[in-house]
């Protein structure tokens, strides 16, 4: 499925639903907004992408079918924090939390 950030209409429901938003320097809707504005690098720099639990609540609540958690996922990968052996084993059926937890550990 395509994660088309342009579908976002900035309602903020993702950030309102996110259990970690209060502890984030950049709330989920801003990941989408920055990507929409052609500035995905600022998302990669944000600490928030390491606070994301990949619970996907943001995606379940989004009225437009946008996927903020997937934006964070891409940003984490874009940071180069990829343990190749972990990523090799990632497939569709693996719970998202698993690779995320692995990446967190790798970062220390």
């Amino acid at each position: 499925m395509m994660n088309n950030e342009n579908r976002c209409m900035l309602c903020g429901r993702c950030s309102a639903a996110c259990p970690m938003a209060a502890r984030m320097d950049l709330p989920p809707h801003m990941w989408v907004y920055r990507t929409q504005r052609g500035d995905p690098s600022s998302v990669r720099k944000a600490d928030a992408i390491w606070k994301c639990l990949s619970c996907l609540c943001c995606e379940a609540r989004c009225p437009r079918g946008v996927k903020p958690a997937h934006v964070a996922e891409e940003a984490r990968a874009g940071q180069g924090y990829i343990l190749e052996d972990v990523m090799k084993r990632v497939d569709e059926n693996m719970p998202q939390q698993l690779p995320v937890a692995a990446l967190r550990k790798a970062r220390g």
Partner: protein, 640 residues
């Protein structure tokens, strides 16, 4: 046959790409073509004169016009031909503009193609027959389905023009959703005060026949001559005897939703002011015991033995005004609508602030009857939602009625803290923006750009998790009452009614208009008209305007005694027909009937789609004006 060919330049539209002089010349090669001419604008008066004079001068028996699409000017040219004494169906159009000049760049190739198209039209006209339109009678009576403000306005307008109208409403009273509203935006007129006089007018109008607690069951026929079966549901109360005194209501021991008794009048100003028994909650119908209403009723109007009654009536035109519902909120668990009594919908809030509602207009919480200290309105619950649980469109009225609710709350209790969570505030309409600004500037309603992610019941209050998009931070608060602006969808009966009327519906279930700009109150099916929310979200003034427009269209139809029918309909060749009935099976309009080893087409029902001619295995079915021989001749000419 003596054929005349006329080639239009359409200014440069055709001439720039097609060599008109060349094809005018070349078409004379056909021995049947006795005259051919080119002209800058054939549709102009001079062009039409050229055609009519040529028909007389050359004694033409067929005319081919090489010009724009027949959609544009077929009627124009056929009228001109008829004026000159030629049967209008012996005129063919070769579309050398839309299907040739406009889609090609190479002049040489385009010219050859235009020549082929003209030759095909000539081949077709050679096999043409004169056709004569039929006539069908118009039943001078209208049916309006739905007794909300849309149906009420339409019925009144038609009746005022002098035509009898039957108004069918599925619930026991007319009035619809507007009757449940407290006030109307942006003027804050009392909804009942402006609606009830119209309801009374409907009930007392000699031309209006009111069928409440009734549903349309079957629709047959066609424009000018529909036959409709209406089911009058058993009310269990004799309408001729009931005086509307209300003694039965006082005697009924049942207390249902909104404190409603099993025998009930929907609200104080109901029209007709006659109760109905809800057989699902009535103790007598459930357990066979009670009958207290019967004992209390002095005029002996209660009738437990009443059964559904069916009536059949003929109509010339039908208006669909089936209205709307708010969507169910089962899929929106995060707002806790089903889990918390103090999370309500806007329509429920409307009932709470309404003087004739269950609380008598006292603004109190459903859970404990206390006045809320803080009210949180949440916009776009299911609206602008492209996922499976919502509706992709804007419900249009929520921004305005929420501003109205916020003002109403502040009017009743200025100390209440009122906040509105919104995505965008949309207020296009006369005095709408000013009204919304008044809520903010005069009444101090707090508008927060952002949405709510979760509502949780906590110690008798409600905790909301929201986002303030302008602060770019979380906005979490404790509130007392949450009001959800649920998206609007067509009423659940709309689909059934649309199917019976063969009226198309769109992807969201709204009845489609024939043209979104130029035929906004007509359905694509002739004789069917639309008004109100069944056609899409709209407010009361728009609904009333659309209802009057639909009524006007109906009046325009009913003043005619006869309607001319298109003669290009299917016709059975009885000598070749085996009576297999395949044609009747494929006909989408129910126009073909099987009669003793043959079939017959009802010309008034046939729309000339040609489906039957393709389905017929023996070639017995032909579409007049588009016979198989004509079409094959066209193909031969194009390929030759």
């Amino acid at each position: 046959m003596r054929i005349g060919v006329f080639v239009c330049h359409c200014g440069n539209n055709i001439k720039a790409t097609v060599d008109a002089a060349y094809i005018t010349e070349r078409l004379r090669d056909d021995s049947s073509v006795v005259c051919s001419a080119e002209f800058p604008y054939l549709c102009a008066e001079g062009g039409q004169k050229l055609i009519t004079e040529a028909i007389a001068e050359h004694n033409l028996t067929g005319v081919v016009i090489c010009a724009c699409s027949p959609r544009m000017h077929e009627t124009t040219f056929r009228k001109a031909a008829a004026k000159a004494g030629l049967n209008p169906y012996r005129l063919e159009i070769a579309n050398i503009r839309e299907q040739c000049a406009w889609v090609h760049k190479n002049k040489e190739e385009a010219t050859e193609k235009a020549l082929s198209l003209a030759k095909a039209a000539i081949a077709k006209i050679k096999l043409s027959q004169p056709l004569f339109p039929g006539e069908s009678r118009v039943t001078k009576r209208a049916l309006v389905i739905g007794g909300g403000i849309a149906g009420i306005q339409a019925a009144l307008d038609i009746a005022e023009a002098g035509f009898p109208v039957d108004l069918v409403e599925k619930s026991p009273s007319i009035g619809g959703k507007m009757a449940q509203l407290d006030k109307t935006f942006p003027t804050l007129d009392c909804s009942a005060c402006i609606l009830t006089p119209k309801m009374v007018d409907v009930a007392s109008h000699e031309k209006i026949n009111l069928h409440t607690y009734s549903e349309v069951e079957k629709v047959e026929g066609f424009v000018g001559s529909f036959t409709v079966t209406i089911r009058k549901k058993a009310r269990s109360v004799d309408m001729t005897k009931c005086t509307g005194c209300g003694d039965c209501l006082a005697a009924c021991p049942v207390k249902g939703k909104e404190n409603r008794k099993a025998i009930y009048i929907p609200y104080a100003q109901a029209v007709p002011n006659v109760p109905a028994i809800d057989r699902e909650s009535c103790l007598y119908f459930k357990n066979g015991k009670c009958k207290r209403c019967e004992k209390a009723c002095q005029p002996k109007a209660i009738d437990f033995t009443q059964e559904d009654e069916r009536i059949t009536e003929g109509y010339g035109a039908i208006i669909a005004a089936t209205g709307f519902e708010a969507i169910r909120l089962d899929a929106f668990g995060e707002y806790g609508y089903h889990a918390n009594k103090d999370v309500i919908t806007s329509l429920e809030f409307e009932r709470i602030i309404n003087a004739s509602g269950p609380t008598g207009g006292k603004l109190v919480r459903p859970s404990d009857g206390s006045v809320p200290a803080r009210i949180s309105f949440i916009q776009c619950v299911g609206s602008r939602d492209a996922t499976a649980r919502g509706k992709p469109y804007c419900s249009k009225v929520c921004c305005m009625y929420t501003a109205k609710h916020a003002i109403s709350a502040k009017e009743k209790h200025p100390e209440i803290d009122v906040e509105v969570f919104y995505i965008d505030v949309r207020t296009p309409g006369k005095n709408f923006e000013e009204f919304y600004r008044r809520a903010v500037e005069v009444y101090g309603v707090r508008y927060i750009k952002g949405q709510v992610g979760k509502v949780i019941g906590e110690n008798g209050s409600l905790r909301i998790q929201a986002m303030d998009m302008l602060e770019n931070g979380r906005y979490d608060a404790v509130t007392d009452l949450v009001v959800l602006a649920a998206a609007i969808e067509p009423s659940d009966s709309a689909k059934k009614v649309a199917q019976m009327l063969s009226s198309p519906i769109d992807a969201n279930g709204f009845l489609s208009e024939a043209h979104p700009k130029l035929r906004p109150v007509e359905s694509a099916t002739a004789g069917i008209f639309l008004c109100g929310m069944c056609n899409g979200p709209k407010d009361i003034p728009e609904t009333v305007a659309q209802a009057s427009a639909a009524a006007c269209k109906v009046i325009g139809l009913l003043v005619k005694d006869q309607l001319t029918t298109n003669p290009c309909t299917a016709k059975t060749d009885e000598n070749n027909c085996s009576g297999c009935g395949l044609c009747a099976e494929v006909c989408p309009y129910g126009a073909v009937g099987v009669i003793s080893h043959s079939t017959a087409v009802n010309a008034a029902l046939c729309q000339g789609c040609g489906g039957c001619t393709v389905a017929c295995p023996s070639g017995a079915m032909n579409l007049q004006g588009f016979s198989r021989a004509q079409i094959i001749a066209e193909v031969d000419a194009l390929c030759g």
